[in-house]
Amino acid sequence: MSTLPDGRYVDDRPYERDLGEEARNADLDVSNTRLVWRRFREHKLGLVSALFLLFSYLMLPFAGFISPYTANERAPDHLYGAPQGIHLFHEGSLIGPYVYPITAEVNLETFSWEYIRDYDNPAKLEFFCEASYYKLAGFIKTNRHLFCAPEGATVFLLGADRLGRDVFSRILYGAQLSLTVGLVGITVSFFIGIILGSIAGYFGGFLDWIINRVIEILRSLPELPLWLALSAAVPSHWSPVAVFFIISIILGILDWPGLARAVRSKFLSLREEEFVRAAEMMGAKPSRVIGKHLLPNFLSHLIASATLSIPAMILGETALSFLGLGLRAPAVSWGVMLNDAQNLASIEIYPWTAIPMLPIVIIVLAFNFFGDGLRDALDPNRS
């Protein structure tokens, strides 16, 4: 650095005359997905959520193995059994994981079940033991469980319900349905909603008019009577899961207009953006403009919407069961379990029957943070 006598300042580093070479190095070959992943990793909460979700889904086939009971296995002597803690120390000495056996007795004064713990006879849990048969991953029939109740005792980690079924095991089994089938509806609804919404929004004019009329009509159509009619029309011998599957697809089919309108209105405005014009002038086909230019600019909303529909889809059946259409036994889902818990006794006297709320909240939050992480990773402004 130097200051000339006339008050000028001149940099005195050697000066080379080449243009625009940037010092920063970036590897060119990284694919977009990799970059997104790299950025996603920085969102800690999102990462944890993603891992949790991954774990949850990977666990689904092994739900039978992890849970000590099968979904509809009843313990007739432990109706409304209270949650049992797992203890390690008994009278000051470590004897490994054990439970106190419980006997349930009717109290005809209060008309409720009372649980008497037998503190003298701790029963040690068994591991990799044999209990009732189930199908691992849906086809391997086995009776090995990660842990099971000791002889003569029960292990209800989260209590038992009215018929003496283990809430913990049912939550695990319920996840198999709740975490999968409901998503089908979301997929269907997003698929239709995005496609039709994009078409309406991007092309406008006549197509927009038509699609909007369809949306209006669909939206004006009452869902309630439709469900009522449907419940009469479904063939009787269909399994509950099949019915539920169909219903979630129909839910999806009925659900798309909201999304489609959102997509449409956003696209009506986005399509006027210069970069869309530019793409068109390069000769980009509509599908390309929509897929590569418009949708990515609406992705945040879509991610948020998807996350938000998840609890709705998981719980959709509880509303439907008011109309006799919900998922029903012997199928187990979180919605079914909560449905059973919708009475005062469950709240006041046997609160553990309402526990399935927790996994729903946790899963939904995980999806939310995962979605947020994804949004963040895709956000160009954060690079």
């Binding site: 000339l4 006339d6 008050g7 000028r8 300042y9 001149v10 940099d11 580093r13 000066y15 005359r17 243009l19 625009g20 070479e21 940037e22 010092a23 920063r24 190095n25 970036a26 590897d27 060119l28 990284v30 977009n32 970059l35 006027e272 953006e273 210069e274 970069f275 014009r277 530019a278 793409a279 068109e280 002038m281 390069m282 000769g283 980009a284 086909k285 390309r288 590569k292 230019h293 990515p296 600019n297 992705l299 895709l378 160009p380 402004n381 954060r382 690079s383």
Partner: protein, 586 residues
């Protein structure tokens, strides 16, 4: 305002602004010039503390000595900062389109500055805004007040930005390339306005610009930046007259000038037009004040007739808002002309002509393969969610040319051509400087190897040395590949250099048209004359001749009889010499 030791970086990478310092006194103008991408904008923003979130100020202080004594802006509370921004220090952003909210009327966005700081209220504020609009050269300020940004031409938006910045009469104005999109007459007017305010209020100004002519005309001190560092700084006469640093020297040497005289080029008898526009007009309907108000119609272009010869360059110059961009867009079929127009394109000398007004899908695709555009506002034409790599590869993608690696290779090649590093391929558009984005736009247009290129102010945001490089590039490929250009620019020096033929537009009309040499050395129309006179020269001793400017740039009804427009009656284009047409009564 005094900036010292400013270092800004992104993430862990090497800082992009390093140890930069400059200062400006009240009533003074500091010109910040330098290479495109050298960190000028970032430094200015840092002073206002509105850097992008990912940017970090590693060190530096910004001391602002306003009416309340000196304060270090870096340490100020967000609240206090709000008081300073817009009120004490205001800023004109480089890219006016993106910097204006698309959903609010211009007037609303401008008057807000007054309301926010309680400078003026109600009718008074409105008056002041309208007045400022007038002073930045809007013929119809009320209309502008009611318009939305997308309804304005590039230059008009820029003027709206300027109006927004100066309407609050700040102590310091940071003007980031405030006149790039303005034609020279308007530019002169705007610069005049700024000077006036400076004199009246003792306003200080930091002027970022590439136009050394403007620097020469306006600046008191100059700071030259390159690659994030200050190369040279000092009083304008000294730096301009006697550059010391190597970079400064190079920079000034690269400044284009209108050649003093040129030789007549012989012309072929029958021009081979690649694109010909006949009787092309375009009328826009504005969103009125409210649903029940009558609609305002704007005749953006009125009866244009010209053609672009194969292998040659047609330059279109003219007043901001005169319909140049509209013309260009119509030439590429991006906008439909009013009925009755014919826009004919002939891909090869022996091919059939196609009328762009009625193309079917496949013909359109074929046309789009041949014809590309460099947009005036590169920022908004780049999808903010697309990496540069994808944006550049997209044209090839669309036309299914090459394999993926080939496309990327070509993209890297193109970047190199326009003076950018291939490293930048993985960045998103927002992570570039204005000039860099402009070059991206050029690179993208070249990706397909078109035969016809419409360049809408392609070099306005480039410093002269880069501009030189780009122009060279354009010339080279024109000569090598027999490319034809339609070139829109406000920089007459650039036009003089690259164009074979020039059309001068005013109010949607071509007022004069002819071969470059003729036009530059024998201008007939008062407006053309005004344009030439208003062209600032990078020479401190040759100030702009404001008298000619005023005469030509004034309203068409003040022109001499022969040229005067009177309402809708307009003089015809009269052939004056070989290919030289002037709009006058013969």
């Amino acid at each position: 305002m005094k900036v010292e030791g400013l270092t800004i970086g992104f993430g862990n990478a090497a800082p992009v602004v390093e140890d930069v310092g400059f200062s400006v006194e009240p009533g003074e103008t500091l010109a910040l010039v330098g290479e495109s991408g050298s960190g000028k904008t970032l430094s200015c923003r840092a002073a206002l503390r509105i850097l992008p979130e990912v940017a970090q100020v590693h060190s530096g202080s910004v001391v602002f000595d306003g009416s309340n004594g000196p304060v270090d802006l870096m340490g100020l509370s967000e609240r206090a900062m709000c008081d300073i921004r817009g009120n004490r220090i205001s800023m004109i952003f480089q890219e006016p389109m993106r910097s204006l909210s698309p959903l609010h009327r211009i007037g609303n966005q401008v008057i807000e500055v007054l309301r926010l700081h309680g400078t003026a209220k109600g009718q008074g504020a409105y008056k002041r805004v309208i007045e400022t609009f007038e002073r930045v050269g809007f013929a119809d300020p009320e209309r502008i007040y009611q318009s939305y940004p997308f309804e304005l031409s590039g230059g008009m938006r820029q003027r709206a930005m300027i109006a927004m910045a100066v309407v609050g009469k700040p102590d310091l104005l940071i003007a980031d390339e405030p006149t790039t999109a303005l034609d020279v007459t308007t530019q002169a007017q705007v610069l005049g306005l700024i000077k006036e305010i400076q004199q009246d209020n003792g306003m200080a100004m930091i002027l970022v610009t590439h136009d050394l002519g403007v620097v020469a005309n306006l600046a008191d001190t100059v700071t030259v930046m390159n690659r994030g560092r200050v190369m040279e700084a000092g009083p304008a006469p000294l730096v301009l007259g006697d550059p010391q640093h190597g970079y400064t020297k190079d920079l000034f040497a690269a400044a284009p000038k209108i050649p003093d005289s040129g030789e007549e080029v012989s012309r072929e008898d029958k021009p081979d037009y690649i694109l010909e526009m006949r009787n092309v007009s375009k009328t826009y309907t504005l969103k009125g004040k409210a649903a029940w108000h009558p609609k305002i119609h704007v005749q953006a272009v009125r009866g244009i007739e010209f053609g672009v010869e194969r292998g040659r360059t047609l330059a279109v110059v003219g007043e901001s808002g005169s319909g140049k961009t509209t013309c260009a867009r119509m030439a590429l079929g991006a906008e439909r002309a009013d009925p009755g127009a014919e826009i004919l394109f002939r891909a090869k000398p022996d091919a059939d002509t196609v009328n762009l007004q009625d193309l079917d899908t496949s013909a359109r695709l074929a046309f789009q393969r041949q014809a590309q555009m460099v947009f005036q506002d590169p920022y908004s034409t780049l999808n903010p969610r697309m990496r540069v790599k994808d944006a550049l590869c997209e044209p090839m993608d669309i036309h299914k040319l090459g394999t993926r690696p080939e496309r990327v290779d070509r993209a890297a090649e193109m970047l190199r051509w326009v003076g950018l590093s291939p490293n930048m391929l993985t960045r998103y558009p927002h992570a570039f400087s204005g000039g860099q984005r402009q070059r991206l736009s050029i690179a993208r247009a070249l990706m397909l190897g078109p035969t016809f290129l419409v360049c809408d102010e392609p070099t306005s945001a480039l410093d002269v040395s880069v501009q030189e490089q780009v122009l060279q590039l354009l010339e080279e490929i024109r000569d090598r590949l027999n490319l034809s250009y339609m070139f829109i620019s406000h920089d007459l020096a650039v036009v003089a250099r690259i164009a074979d033929e020039v059309a001068v537009m005013r109010e949607g009309l071509v007022v004069e048209q002819g071969p470059t040499e003729v036009l530059f050395h024998n201008p007939q129309h008062p407006y053309t004359k005004a344009l030439l006179a208003a062209q600032p020269e990078p020479d401190i001793n040759r100030p702009i001749n404001l008298k000619i400017v005023a005469q030509g740039a004034g309203s068409p009804s003040t022109w001499p009889e022969a040229y005067r427009f009177d309402g809708t009656s307009v003089p015809p284009l009269t052939e004056m010499g070989l290919g030289h047409k002037v709009r006058c009564y013969a």
